[in-house]
């Protein structure tokens, strides 16, 4: 990322308040995360692509909910090497979002260790070393907040299993 843009984003999103922190500790890590297709009840995976050569590794997936495929959800997962690397990836994703109205989500229902969103139609969050971006990809816009919470619950369950 261009240094000037990074500085702008760090100031705009007050990165000092959230960078390098995780509810599950700095060593919390999920390795080899793969979608099974059951993560989003009521949604069907249309396509999933895992890019092993990307740094960090990323899985792009498209999900649909109705026959006409007008409701399409894009869900991307980045598997980073650490919590800090995940927060860097959050900034990288924000660097490719044009809106000046994207805000940090801090409510009790906000998913992840840190989350950002616009209305309820896009959510970006980091949980431990994973970064998740949920957004619309179809003409009929759907709300993604509850879906993000559901995905986060799957990740939390994985973290708890790893701890045991």
């Amino acid at each position: 990322m261009e240094p000037g843009q990074k500085k702008h984003l760090e100031e705009r999103f007050k990165a000092r308040e959230w960078y390098g922190r995780s509810q599950y500790g700095l060593r919390a890590s999920i390795k080899g995360f793969a979608l099974t297709g059951s993560e989003l009840p009521g949604w069907k995976i249309q396509r999933t692509e895992r890019d092993e050569s990307a740094k960090p590794r990323v899985t792009h997936s498209l999900w649909s909910r109705n026959e006409a495929a007008t409701e399409i959800l894009s869900v991307d997962f980045w598997e980073c090497s650490s919590v800090r690397a995940a927060d860097d990836q959050v900034l990288d994703v924000l660097a490719n979002m044009q809106s000046a109205d994207i805000e940090r989500r801090t409510g009790t229902n906000a998913p992840g260790d840190v989350a950002f969103g616009l209305n309820d139609t896009m959510v970006l969050f980091a949980r431990a070393n994973l970064v998740v971006l949920l957004r619309n990809a179809g003409p009929k816009v759907v709300m993604v907040g509850a879906i993000a919470t559901r995905v986060d619950a799957v990740l939390i369950q994985r973290l708890k299993t790893i701890r045991k």
Partner: protein
């Protein structure tokens, strides 16, 4: 019986001056030479070749053709395609000529971008004073671009592993969109218009996602975008400025333009505009402003260089800060400085112009995947 066994359009992979360019079909399919093969190539799309106008200007273009004969008495004939391939004598040894070079007749006479399907009616005669006789037909798809494609496209190394060789799947659209263009500025403008015209049915601005990149985060997901153009899902319907800048510059550069993807910023308020796919004048999606914006940009991507923006139309009248609005799609429009009434003034509010600065450090050409 006389037959054409094979035709090589790209017979010299080290040059684009006397033959066709090095090309491939898409990310996964290579186009091997000879492009036309007997019993294999039937339709024009089975035999594709692309020529660049600039390096071939004033040069003789040739193809390499291999012929066969089943008549043992036939050792010497003349062969031609009227209006397309200049006549020349060929000799058969054991019924084969091997590859021999034929000159093309004025193949790029219009010197403009285009794609056309040609049908060549091959003729032969046994001697200078004998009648020409038809013996076969070959069909080809010929692309004409203005110059050798620029990045991310390249011409080497010429092998199946090089996915940045020009894709004919992209040429099919780009040559159609910029059909007839005789200059790179004209080609860039026509590509910009065509991309903007894809809205709202094929692509539309990503209001729900905060204007996020769906096709250009990292590399250019060109395969997915082509799928979208073909009526498939692609990466979905939404695009942002980086996607549009990447599509325009990548498609235009395939035609010989020399554009970059580059950003401006950081954080600025907007005048009212028409985002791609929208017919409502408003600040983009009603937002307070852009965190950044990205366009297809010429040369060094500075205030003194021209931009092509397929993501939005600005107000083109004498006061871009207020209604009434006159829609202007930025094509070959100088970025400018505050007060110039050029691209910057039309995009950003008077207060926002100070932070809507060219960021030439972001200048890039995303790899096509």
């Amino acid at each position: 019986m006389i037959a054409i066994e094979a035709i090589k359009f790209n017979h010299d992979s080290n040059s684009a001056a006397s033959d066709a360019l090095n090309i491939r079909k898409n990310a996964s399919q290579f186009i091997s030479v000879p492009e036309w093969r007997r019993f294999v190539s039937v339709n024009p799309e089975d035999s594709r070749a692309a020529y660049a106008v600039a390096p071939t200007k004033g040069k003789t273009l040739t193809i390499a053709v291999s012929l066969s004969s089943t008549d043992p008495a036939l050792t010497f004939i003349e062969v031609r395609v009227r209006k397309h391939v200049k006549a020349r004598p060929v000799s058969f040894i054991n019924g084969q000529t091997g590859f021999v070079f034929f000159e093309l007749i004025d193949p790029l006479k219009h010197a403009s971008i285009g794609v056309r399907d040609v049908e060549w009616h091959w003729e032969f005669r046994r001697g200078p004073h004998r009648q020409w006789r038809h013996f076969t037909i070959t069909r080809h798809r010929i692309y004409t671009v203005l110059d050798v494609p620029t990045g991310p496209w390249n011409q080497g190394p010429y092998n199946a592993a090089n996915t940045q060789l020009p894709w004919t799947d992209v040429l099919d659209y780009a040559c159609h969109w910029a059909d007839g263009a005789t200059s790179t500025d004209m080609a860039g403008a026509l590509v910009t218009q065509s991309v903007y015209a894809l809205g709202p049915s094929v692509i539309t601005y990503d209001c729900p996602g905060g204007g996020s990149s769906h096709y250009s985060a990292g590399n250019f997901a060109c395969t997915a975008f082509l799928d979208r153009l073909h009526g498939g899902l692609g990466n979905g319907i939404y695009v942002n400025c980086s996607d549009c800048a990447t599509i325009v510059s990548t498609f235009a550069n395939l035609l010989g333009c020399d554009l970059w993807q580059s950003r401006m910023g950081w954080g600025f308020a907007l005048n009212q505009m028409l985002g791609i796919g929208s017919n409502v004048w408003q600040t983009c999606c009603g937002w307070s402003g852009f965190s950044y914006h990205e366009v297809a940009w010429e040369d060094a991507c500075t205030a003194n260089d021209d931009v092509f923006d397929a993501c939005l139309q600005v107000d083109g009248d004498s006061d871009p800060t207020a209604a009434p609005h006159v829609a202007l799609l930025p094509q070959d429009l100088r970025f400018g400085n505050p007060g110039n009434l050029l691209y910057r003034d039309r995009l950003a509010t008077p207060a926002g112009r100070a932070t809507c600065n060219p960021q030439p450090g972001t200048r890039t050409r995303r790899v096509v995947v």
